[in-house]
Amino acid sequence: MSCSSSEDVPDQCKDLFTQDGVLLKACIGRPIIDLNSIGMLCIVQNVDGGKCIEWRPNDLITIDSDSQDQEWAVVHTIGRRQRTLSGNMTSDYAAARARIIRIQIDELKTFRMTRNNQQMQFSTKPGVWQNTFYFQHGNAEIFLASLKNYVKTVKTRHDRNTYVVVEPTNEAQALNRSFAELDIFTENTTDVVWNLVSNFKQRPYETTLEAFSKLTDIVYYGNEGLNGKRDVSDEVADLLSKSMSALEDNTSVTKSDDYEVISVKPTLPPRPCIPRGAPLSTEKWEGLLDPDGRILEVDGVRQLIFRGGVAHSIRHSVWKYLLDYHPWSYTHAKIKSLQKKRTEEYFTMKLQWKSMTEKQESRFSEYRERKSLVEKDVNRTDRTHPFFAGDDNPNLVTLEDILMTYVMYNFDLGYVQGMSDILAPLLLLLGNEVDTFWCFVGFMEKIASNFDMDQAGMKQQLLNLQLLLSFASPDLAKHLASKDSGNMYFCFRWLLVWFKREFSHRDIMRLWEVLWTGLPCANFHLIISVAILDAEKDVLISGDYGFTEILKHVNDLSMCLDVDKILSTAEGIYHQIISAPHLTDQIRIILGIPTVGGRPEPEPSSSEETNGKTDEQSDMEEVMYQIGLDMNF
């Protein structure tokens, strides 16, 4: 490790990743004056092909006048792309350059994340943490994910947040290659990617990371920042004016009697644009089954489905796993016997109500009411779809039989409006009555709280949606609240039947299978809602829509929504939320990620939504990395 190095940076050095707003908290052998200064943490490719982690103080990379406020320091990279410094800056520049910290990646032994993933410490010899960095903007997770592209690590047993470097660069590349050979991840070619988990895909890393660092530039300077042909003084003036307007945009002034309170409005990091992947194909699916029919790489499969959905031709198989009808670990033989058992079970329950005489029925009002409600709803479920159209359509009889058998399966819940909507696409796809029933049971497990008698589950979700929207799109949340719509009731239909009424059958199948993966966090369907609303933000706010207009507008979005675009936006919003510096425990709990104080407490009324996957999901990136290791066979 070369902690201080003042040699000139060769021009061929290339930034692979940059993260702004990183505070140097501790560094062995550095004067105290250097500590607590802000800079940029980068992953750099040296001229010899080796890589290093580099921290550059802002003095080197900023031209920020007299601003003492680190929060608003205007960052400008001079180091690599432009070296047109002149005049009075040079002496400061040289001094600042001496303060660069460089850690060669092939010397790196161990590192750890602490303080709610906002702090990273590095060590080149066990027992001493030589460098400590504090990530002011968001957390170190994105940096960590990028770093993992260049080193192979394992987590230590005693501390989940400490990573030991197993082998540097070369090995990691071998890992990447093995992925490419396996070809189990999607063949996406879009190169603008900012996604933690997609680091494990086969696309070229450097393109990705370069795009990433360019993004930072664009964020700060717009496109001009990239060509570097402008005069420095122009740029200074420009940046100053931009920083001023940024200050105006991001601060609010509250006047009380004696003081003028200027507070900084917390802002989200820029929204990454995350392209969708290709659907899980037949070949890949078949390749994932072991000779006995077991699926071992469950998380990898989920990840693939989250990214691109499932090819229509294999949906009928894959859905049974996603809906917990077929356990992933079951062999063909075990599934066969399970199916036999479930078939018997189904027909036993079906017989229970089929064998009820008219006289029995006449003395059983609760049963009668449910039956009448089922009949009414079945007759008005998706009747425009050819599969359910026409008089005396046998598929309607099947719908009714399944719903009535479900009443016997779960008499406490019985039949609630919305269930026929949930069931119809399942029957349309699976065709088989028994399979459809058990898949329906699985789906209902995921959303049972939507149908609570007291509607507590729905109320909780609407509240959670409001909280997420306030965090992710505060202007819109404010507008809604001012129009008596803060209760989010206009989203009731979306949430009750998971957007069934908003999309065509084809699109709802895609959306549902993605949501069933439980990735990337709990309650992702609420972020889907945020994504749809955020896209309508301008219309709702600039049109000054009131209570009724909001409801009408939202209802009228039905069948006008682009499922892939929404999924992509929602994923971007998810990343914005989790990397926001002001992320609260309240939001973490909704998304099922660990709170600052420790593990999230189970939410009383929506524990079912999280499906007990909290730990897994919060550490998804880690899980994916582990899969990467596991699959390196």
């Binding site: 007759n379 998706d382 409006q417 026929s420 509607q455 009731f492 239909r493 009750l496 009724t548």
Partner: protein, 208 residues
């Protein structure tokens, strides 16, 4: 009253699931019937301009889900209603029996200024069907016992009495509206006072 003012009448349709609320609304507004209307989830509304006593009024007709458990959320839409339409299915006696609780629930949740005078209209729907189970007489009697609520026998499918019923709904709602305006002689001043009160209260809070 001033006829220059644009009048918006908010009408809420309530009744058990499957009695034909959505169909009645669509028959009145769009002159269409379909037996493929999906069960209403959440709430929706349609608007229609009608002429009542030479005045143009806009009716905003709200349709909500009929299943009991969804009512706790439906109440958000009751506020500011000018008339409430209660619908039952003449072939399903249970839906007729529910009218009472629908009416009570509405009065509790919407808490109109003068509950005893709040305009309701009862519609016995699906009279086109053969298997009628609630007689007109029985329905009429019940309506009379409830402060003479107007009663119509309708068929959304065959457009029987739908126009007539909604004309009455509009007229009664408008009468209610006009009365409310009469009570409210100085609405602007009242508004200002309310604001002042709020401000004072906020001030108090700050001082604490």
């Amino acid at each position: 009253m001033s006829s220059r003012k644009k009048v918006l009448l908010k009408v809420i349709i309530l009744g058990d699931s499957g009695v034909g609320k959505t169909s009645l609304m669509n028959q009145f507004v769009n002159k269409k019937f379909s037996n493929q209307y999906k069960a209403t989830i959440g709430a929706d509304f349609l608007t229609k301009e009608v002429i009542v006593d030479d005045r143009i009024v806009t009716m905003q007709i709200w349709d909500t889900a009929g299943q009991e458990r969804f009512q706790s959320l439906g109440v958000a839409f009751y506020r500011g209603a000018d008339c409430c339409v209660l619908v039952f299915d003449v072939t399903a006696p249970n839906t007729f029996k529910s009218l009472e609780s629908w009416r009570d629930e509405f009065l509790i949740q919407a808490s109109p200024r003068a509950p005893e005078n709040f305009p309701f209209v009862i519609l016995g729907n699906k009279v086109d069907l053969d298997n009628r189970a609630v007689s007109a007489k029985r329905a009429q009697q019940w309506c009379q016992s409830k402060n003479d609520i107007p009663y119509f026998e309708t068929s959304a499918k065959e457009a029987v009495n739908v126009e007539l019923a909604f004309q009455t709904i509009a007229r009664n709602a408008l009468a209610q509206e006009t009365e409310a305006e009469l009570y409210n002689e100085f609405p602007d001043q009242i508004k200002l006072n309310a604001n002042d009160n709020n401000r004072n209260r906020d001030g108090d809070n700050c001082a604490c």
